[in-house]
Symmetry: C2
Subunit: 522 residues, 2 copies
């Protein structure tokens, strides 16, 4: 280390940011909530390198390949930063062909050299949280569990009644296009046009189909009669009466899958969270079966949806849209998620085979857009003034001391008390000054949002006693001046009070449907 120039450009690279304080803590809690759900369903962690050989990523992302970050050729292998977590998972499965079934989760950063829009949350470095099931099983069973996982994640985040899961099936869509008379080579482009129904009205989508993509107007009109349909079992029953659809092998297979899926979602107790939405098409080409997307207040699409719940979401989205301007503002931070969604996924049975045909293994999975989930969660906690959930540290107790003239600061006594608390698992801090003033110590505890002060006084300590004082009690509260306890019992006394306070906070949080910090674990 020599002497350095001091004219550094002190910033993070474009489209990246530091996470610190209460934001970092809240995001960590969201990760923990999501990972706990994944583990509850038998998910095991897979961690892959942040960069891959460039040839592994080549040809996987179509036009978006230009957004891949490349490492410089410094001699040796040519590498690029990962663009998503799905291709590395497929690469791993191809490298491990003896693994014939796996539930894997992966929470990690991905990289896209996109034009960043930091104010809208579109970053060049951002997190994805993925859960995928690989293996050959009976139809729709893992697919249903993945959707059950989606409901658990959002409900443990406190989003009950505030999100909606749209599902559809690629085989139904393809069958519909065939039945309506879309030529085979136009099925993917027409599917892409349908996918835009969540951000533009049918008239515009029809125009794109007919004028840009050269589809016969009558065929487009026939498509309309299908893709505007939404519902649950009622819609499925309607479609099962459509003889032209049933005569199409693809549509018939898709409808059978959808029937099974609904039975299984009912057994999982979550059928009411799902909306069968014929306009959902999903942008990525590699889906081969069921597809889904989760929308919520503030992220919902502006057009579409007829279920009562979805209608509420639609209104809220319209409001946010009228502020936003053009449709591109609704673009997700994560292009693979789709417009305005907070989670998305589906079945992709052919991706692993692209790496190694003999390692082919069917997969179904979901990706949570955690940056968007973070923003929405934080905004709600702020509206609710949920100070506990917005703290920047988790410290339970601040150990302080006071004394009269000639007071020595009791530093080693404070250290010794902290030691007892730490060894009992209590999160504790103390002032790093030899002789701190009492108001300074209280101020430090307040600034950290620490709920309890442990106060050492010379006379009390000589009698083996120490004071626990709950911070922020109002004047006149019987424990305003704290409670004297035996020093030997201090860790247990603090733990009891911390647990009691957390139970209260948790009750309030649940009432507010805020972030459920104390999600069930084993």
């Amino acid at each position: 280390m020599g002497k350095e120039k001091n004219n550094f450009n002190l910033k993070t690279p474009k489209g990246t940011k530091d996470w610190s304080g209460s934001d970092a803590l809240l995001r960590d809690r969201i990760f923990t909530t999501i990972a706990d759900v994944f583990k509850r369903h038998g998910g095991t962690a897979l961690d892959t390198p942040v960069f891959e050989l460039r040839e592994i990523l080549a040809g996987k992302y179509g036009e978006d390949s230009k957004l891949i970050y490349d490492l410089q050729d410094q001699g040796g292998e040519i590498c690029s930063l990962r663009y998503d977590l799905t291709v590395p998972f497929a690469r791993w499965l191809a490298m491990n062909p003896d693994v014939r079934s796996m539930k894997r989760y992966h929470i990690a950063k991905v990289y896209r050299r996109d034009q960043p829009a930091v104010s809208k949350g579109r970053m060049r470095e951002f997190y994805q949280c993925d859960f995928d099931v690989a293996g050959t099983f009976d139809p729709m069973v893992p697919d249903a569990e993945v959707l059950k996982i989606v409901t658990e994640v959002f409900e443990e985040l406190g989003w009950q009644g505030r999100y909606s899961i749209k599902i559809n099936h690629r085989k139904i869509l393809d069958g519909v296009f065939e039945v309506c008379g879309v030529p085979a080579e136009k099925i993917r482009p027409i599917s892409s046009a349908v996918d835009k129904l969540d951000k533009m009205p049918w008239a515009d989508v029809r125009k794109e189909m007919v004028e840009e993509k050269g589809l016969d107007g009558a065929v487009a009109d026939k498509i309309e009669t299908y893709v505007v349909k939404k519902g649950t079992r009622d819609l499925l029953e309607t479609l099962l009466k459509d003889e032209s659809l049933l005569a199409n092998a693809s549509a018939k297979a898709g409808l059978e899958d959808m029937g099974l899926l609904m039975d299984y979602l009912e057994a999982f107790g979550v059928l009411d969270r799902i909306s069968f939405d014929m306009s959902l098409a999903r942008g990525l080409d590699y889906y081969t079966g069921v597809i889904y997307e989760v929308v919520t207040e503030g992220s919902a699409p502006a057009v579409s949806s007829s279920a009562p719940e979805a209608e509420k979401l639609q209104k809220s989205a319209k409001k946010s849209k009228s502020k936003g301007g053009n449709a591109d503002d609704d673009r997700s931070d994560d292009p693979t998620l789709g417009v305005g969604s907070v989670a998305a996924g589906g079945r992709y049975d052919n991706l692993v085979g692209m790496f190694l045909p003999k390692a082919q293994i069917p997969c179904v999975g979901v990706s949570f857009g955690v940056d968007r989930i973070f923003s929405i969660t934080k905004a709600r906690l702020e509206r609710e003034n949920n100070a506990e959930a917005l703290r920047s540290s988790e410290v339970d107790a601040f150990v302080m001391a006071f004394g009269g003239k000639g007071f020595n600061g009791m530093l080693t006594e404070r250290m010794s008390v902290c030691q007892a608390l730490w060894n009992a698992g209590v999160k504790a801090e103390f002032s790093y000054k030899v002789k701190p003033k009492l108001p300074q110590q209280f101020k430090a505890a307040e600034q950290g949002g620490v709920p309890f002060a442990v106060i050492l006084g010379e006379d009390e300590l000589a009698n083996g006693k120490v004071r626990i004082k709950e911070m922020g009690l109002e004047e006149g509260h019987p424990e305003k001046e704290g409670v004297l306890v035996d020093l030997a019992n201090l860790p247990a006394e603090v733990k009891t009070r911390v647990a009691r306070k957390q139970d209260q906070a948790s009750a309030v949080t649940q009432q507010l449907e805020g972030l459920n910090v104390n999600a069930p674990t084993n």
Copy 2:
């Protein structure tokens, strides 16, 4: 996604690896153990981007700068992958000069384009776990807390009595060199030579000093009388009687610090874990005060150490060394850690000022070498046949069904029972087959190391009953065939049994001093 060539080079880039199965889970538990200790001491998370502007990293790593991974110039800013977590922390502090005190932790990957030695755990992508305290405080108080944190981490990992913390002080060392007559410009090179005493005998170090670095032989001999000294308070008392040392301002300041540090470590109850080792010099130039390094069985240095505990470590290290060959084999996976250590750190008061002099803030911290900690922990768990700690999933219960002729597989019933377990926070799985055979289901549970089977039988279920069977009970055990419980009570019954089994496992683990999976949390 078009059609792709299938002749991929199916591998991860050189010096990187995938983490999966029981390795990923064990490493995650180590991360959680370490992060819990950090949070218990008021640590808050800081997450920085994986790449920085290249100029931020420039000039920070001396010769090792050639090991920095650069991103390709694709237009826009010139960036490089981070080399450690300390420089990004210093960059953050310089960008946030209003933050005048902070305890931050960061667990993340760093990148070094070094010659990898995968079999020895030296990787190009590896994790660091850092805890640092920034701020101007009274001397040695945060320094002592950082060392207390080191003891808590290793003790919660189950390493009681198996690790040793060597400490020294840059000011004492510099004072010694001055007193011995080392010319000012040779102090850093001579310090580097001293740092090699843990991998070569004094005679070789002396040779380097005299022949390579041109030091007077008499000066080297005088240095020897100091750097072979080890101890605790006894050594400090010896040095405090050395009048030539006390006459040196640097040495005197360092000895005063060391006295305070020992008082504080005693108040924290961890003085007995520390060895004051005058030969510890640490490679990095930026340290300005106390420095430390943690060694353990299998990672200990081959030469030096006189405390009884350290002597044991020394023997174990010598054994591993005789197999290893040349000294370079002992090189850590992480060059900043130093040879053979599992954690290291110290005080660096001038680093932040390199970015922005007016943001200058003193810091002290520690970095844990988690890849090495992982390898040592895993080897011990394997020796101890600790199946619980080496499982690849955390699933508590496998829900299965059986029936006679015409049995329909009870798929939706199994789903419904899983739903009840998941909603109660129990980690549960079931077969994705419509009609799985009972032995297949037991085999799946066994392979996953799942401790409990929940068995649905048609007749029992009709009576509202379900069977819980603990896996792996020996023949003749009274509960070998399982216990019938009310379906309505199933989640509570499973949770009780899981908790009981974990308590037993935890007791065994503690007895074995294995990984303490159930570390204290709030």
